[in-house]
Subunit: 164 residues, 2 copies
DNA sequence: GTTTGCGTTCGAGCGCGCTCCAAGGCCTAG
DNA sequence: CTAGGCCTTGGAGCGCGCTCGAACGCAAAC
């Protein structure tokens, strides 16, 4: 699980907070092992998505991929990097539509940086909201677990009844 | 936004960690203002979902709701509490299918508590994974924001180019 | 030489979770 | 008395993000 490795590294760096973490994320963004050229299967494996999905992203205009002599896709470093970004955005819930808009801005050159920034800022807020929601849900789940079976104190028995 | 209020309270309590937070979550689970009887519009408003969705949940067998003389739904405290739980689970990504299974277990009585516990434990892990993923995504987004417009250091200019 | 395996394209299909429509009932305000 | 508003039901429709099927190509293995 390459993704898990990345996550582990990221969380490590987040643990040790401060100005150092920016550097750590930087390394993260530069993905560890990116061969010059990768097949669709390799990229799918790397990103933990299916080849179907990769083709779908291409059809959706999120990315252009070169072909070799046999007409097979060849993912270069640039393509893989973009896909890492795209899957990150998808994982955090950014809709395909927004992603399509975003990449169209990228294609329009540097002058669209402000608008891209807007999109990112908005998505950041969305992700933060999600994090708050999830944290709250987690608390609710753990509370319920405690009433059901966890040792939560002397009134555990009573809590089970309250939990319904 | 009642939901937001709840969130705010929950996050407050999470901030001040320790054995106290369990109590705080307890208060949270007991929802602040639950009138004896509520209309579908009131409940929808409370939970920030549409009346359509509430009817859908009922059709899906997630909950039974009584009717008044006019055939209109009357949500009692018990129903509202279950819906708070259900929406919490939905918000954290539990599939309808699992939720249907869960409530069928509840209907089967106390002897299904162990299986319910299993479901909750598994979902807790899922939520934790989501939290890790989201945290990583947030870091990636903030890194990109920094390269685009944030003051991230002396090499900001250079970073913009790298950010593509 | 044929089988196996991985790739290609285009288009259709699907699972999920709503979301809406149509036709109608009851209640209140004007 | 009628109009507006909110509710009811059953069933259909929809947007999203994949996911798959069919038919085919190329290339290495047997």
């Amino acid at each position: 699980m390459t993704t898990d490795d990345l996550m582990a590294r990221a969380l490590e760096s987040l643990g040790a907070d401060g100005p150092l973490s920016v550097e750590a994320i930087h390394r993260l963004a530069d993905v560890a092992d990116v061969p010059e050229a990768m097949t669709i299967a390799e990229v799918a494996d790397l990103l933990d998505i299916s080849p179907h999905t990769l083709r779908y992203y291409e059809r959706a205009g999120l990315i252009e991929v070169a072909r070799d002599g046999n007409g097979h896709r060849v993912y270069d470093t640039h393509a893989v990097r973009r896909l890492v970004f795209l899957t990150r955005m998808r994982l955090s819930g950014m809709p395909m539509r927004d992603l399509q808009h975003y990449v169209s801005l990228v294609d329009d050159g540097e002058r669209t940086v402000p608008e891209r920034l807007d999109i990112l800022l908005e998505h950041r807020d969305t992700v933060r909201r999600q994090l708050r929601e999830l944290t709250l849900s987690l608390a609710a789940i753990e509370y319920k677990i405690a009433t059901y079976g966890g040792r939560t104190g002397p009134d555990a028995e009573l809590s089970v009844r309250r939990a319904r």
